[in-house]
Symmetry: C2
Subunit: 203 residues, 2 copies
DNA sequence: CTTCAGTGACTAAGCGCTTGCTTAGAGTGG
DNA sequence: CCACTCTAAGCAAGCGCTTAGTCACTGAAG
């Protein structure tokens, strides 16, 4: 993990207090990413956090509540970083590229978090499911709006709006599955590559 | 499921004999896709197959052996259909488009199988893991070879070979996650869309 | 300055339940 | 009779979570 990633990672979890709650949540994230939510045990989580099995229940009501927190923090984080990147640009092409770059590099940078956010949705109870789905759809809408605007003024070539949006999301989401710092270079370069590929396919 | 899909689906499992073994394997596939390998229980699998829990062990040594069979059949099937599609075409662009179209439409068509093959690799024991990984790499090599050839003779524009291969695989693999016959149209149209997008990004 | 009830973080032990899998035997066709 | 397919019953182990209590610390009363 490079310095930039370390700083952003610390920011992501800084507001989880007290420190023991944060340590448990990070331990849960590691366990969920390593083995999947269902295979990860509360004993494994507590061991990774250096505490007894019962300590989990001092800070969280259940294992699935920990997953819910992780999912919320993760989804809010991608949405925020995509928004921030787009705000610095003007025009559909530029803003689409900004989105793609931010979205893909986020998934590479926080690949353990990305794996969990992408594939453990089904484990959430219905209330939480709706909340998280709404965040995901808001993120999708960010690109969809740019593609629609770009198609309208002829700046972008878009035959199938929904299909193109899904393709863009796929590039990003799937980065979390295969990316490692060893194999993929730094997260920014993934973002740049994907932004480049997407711009080419929209002209 | 349309007629074409039904026929291909039947072909996929036809060689699993006797019929009880096949019914159990298909029940396991549904259970793994619905809830994930770890969350799916052998009792759930046997119930879906209309048999008692012990019946599983008449035909398979363990739950994980069922997963291994499903993974092998799935990976062999994508590889075969990509090869078949490419054999009908000539030249890097055409053959790359054939690969993308076959790979993505396979993942849409067999989306439950695609979900399992893509995300349950970690549950396999080491021997099986290696066998499956080899099939996956052979599939990747199919596109990589075309992109290399296309780049060499100037027909295709490829800045980052490995990155472009991964992007192509991501489009296909992730289709299994979001595709449903209701939301995505027919599998072929997904394949055509992705082939089109990829060709545009390679020019 | 000492005392001590109150508070919040944490653990040892374990409860009730479900898991993957086994065993012993029944049913059936050749 | 054997060979094969399947089931009823259940075992050992591991699961999420609870209970009862320890411990370090706080702040007001004596």
């Amino acid at each position: 993990m490079d310095d930039e990633t370390a700083r952003l990672y610390a920011d992501l979890w800084a507001h989880v207090e007290p420190e023991s709650s944060r340590r448990l949540l990070l331990a849960a994230l590691d366990a969920f990413a390593d083995r999947g939510f269902e295979a990860a045990t509360t004993r494994d989580i507590s061991r990774r956090a250096g505490m007894s099995p019962a300590a989990v229940y001092v800070h969280y009501r259940s294992k699935v509540e920990m997953l819910g927190e992780i999912m919320r923090i993760g989804h809010e984080s991608v949405l925020a970083s995509a928004r921030a990147a787009m705000d610095e640009r003007d025009g559909p092409s530029e803003r689409t590229a900004a989105f793609v770059s931010a979205f893909s590099s986020w998934h590479a940078r926080f690949s353990t978090l990305g794996q969990v956010t992408a594939h453990e949705l089904r484990a959430l109870p219905p209330e939480r499911f709706g909340e998280i789905l709404a965040l995901r759809q808001a993120t999708e809408r960010l690109v969809a709006d740019e593609l629609r605007a770009g198609a309208a003024d002829g700046e972008l070539h878009v035959d199938d709006l929904q299909g193109t949006v899904r393709a863009i999301m796929s590039l990003g989401v799937d980065s979390a599955r295969w990316y490692t710092p060893q194999r993929g270079g730094d997260p920014e370069s993934i973002g740049r590559l994907h932004a480049d590929l997407v711009l080419r396919m929209l002209r």
